[in-house]
Symmetry: C2
Subunit: 199 residues, 2 copies
């Protein structure tokens, strides 16, 4: 028998299933919520319950959005002939925050990762190929993470896109701004050297 | 304008209010939940909404419980004349897990902490004094944390309990089992020396 009252035990178990939240953190969070007024609990509970309400994939770029096409795809000021491929919506947001990029996106919603049972068919790759066939872009920019899975996905995409004969680039690898050469890993330094430019 | 759809933004903000969950973790959690089926969201949402349903303070020990008196106070095998004072229900559970303690508890629900605006009146101290006046115990054991707040609360309790002339003890401070002398802080070693026992 658990000594925790059933309601609390149930929340601890539900929180414990979230990534990065272990049993101790789950207990701490549950007890924090216990001290909050009912109204605060209702706000959080409601936000979780209605998380997906009205959300869907943009039929062009597969971005998660309440509109279809999404705000980016339906914005006439964006260049539809430059497509930046990202893993997740959060990556798209990170790029948007630079206020630098004026093209459109394609969100894969993951990377190929056999360890997690994610294959090419689980990603929005078929949609990308169809999209490019329909309206061939001038440039496709890979902005995938520099992980084993990101690289594998990039390699797979290159093969899938090869017959379409489109210009494919990828974002530069190198030292981050403010990064210290002394503390950079050798892989990053190697990429920074390879990608060196005229001064 | 946030680039996140409103539903997601709302959940990120609600999660971000939880202790130890920053904006990045909140985003990560929200996106994790996005990939879960509606049913899993309903389970978590429901657990939060009904967290406090039917829960109340035990009228004897102020433990949070669905029963009154709580299971510990209504258990005839527990010694009602030994009261262990703890800060939180989680501390009570930690002690119960030892299967060593056979007395009852009193849960303060916090410690005196002027920084957080918590004074003696916000804790279950008046209830404790009343309880002891009604049925004087043989022994009161302080099992408060060894923090500044815990020590201040213990000092306050000592003053409040003094007129009642009851035996008060506190749990031993010393090296934890498996603890390494080399890595222990000097405060702990000092307490371990003070509390040394015959071999």
């Amino acid at each position: 028998m658990s000594l925790l009252p059933e309601n609390i035990q149930r929340l601890v178990e539900a929180l414990n299933r979230l990534p990065g939240i272990g049993p101790k953190t789950a207990e701490r969070l549950a007890f924090y919520l216990l001290r909050k007024p009912e109204q605060d609990l209702a706000v959080l509970s409601d936000a979780i319950l209605h998380l997906k309400d009205g959300l869907g994939y943009c039929s062009i770029c597969c971005n998660l959005s309440a509109k279809n096409p999404c705000e980016l795809c339906s914005n006439p000021e964006r260049d539809r002939f430059v497509i930046c491929i990202v893993e997740e919506l959060l990556d798209l947001i990170a790029i948007e925050k630079t206020n630098e990029y004026k093209g459109v996106y394609h969100v894969l919603h993951g990377v190929i990762s056999p360890m997690d049972g994610v294959g090419p068919d689980d990603l929005k790759i078929a949609e990308l190929v169809e999209r490019i066939k329909k309206i061939p872009p001038k440039e496709i920019i890979f902005a995938l993470n520099h992980s084993i899975e990101g690289e594998a996905t990039a390699a797979y995409l290159m093969r899938a896109l090869k017959p379409l004969e489109c210009r494919v680039t990828r974002i530069a690898r190198g030292l981050p701004v403010g990064g210290n050469l002394e503390y950079a890993d050798s892989q990053t330094i190697r990429r920074a050297l390879e990608g060196r430019q005229e001064y």
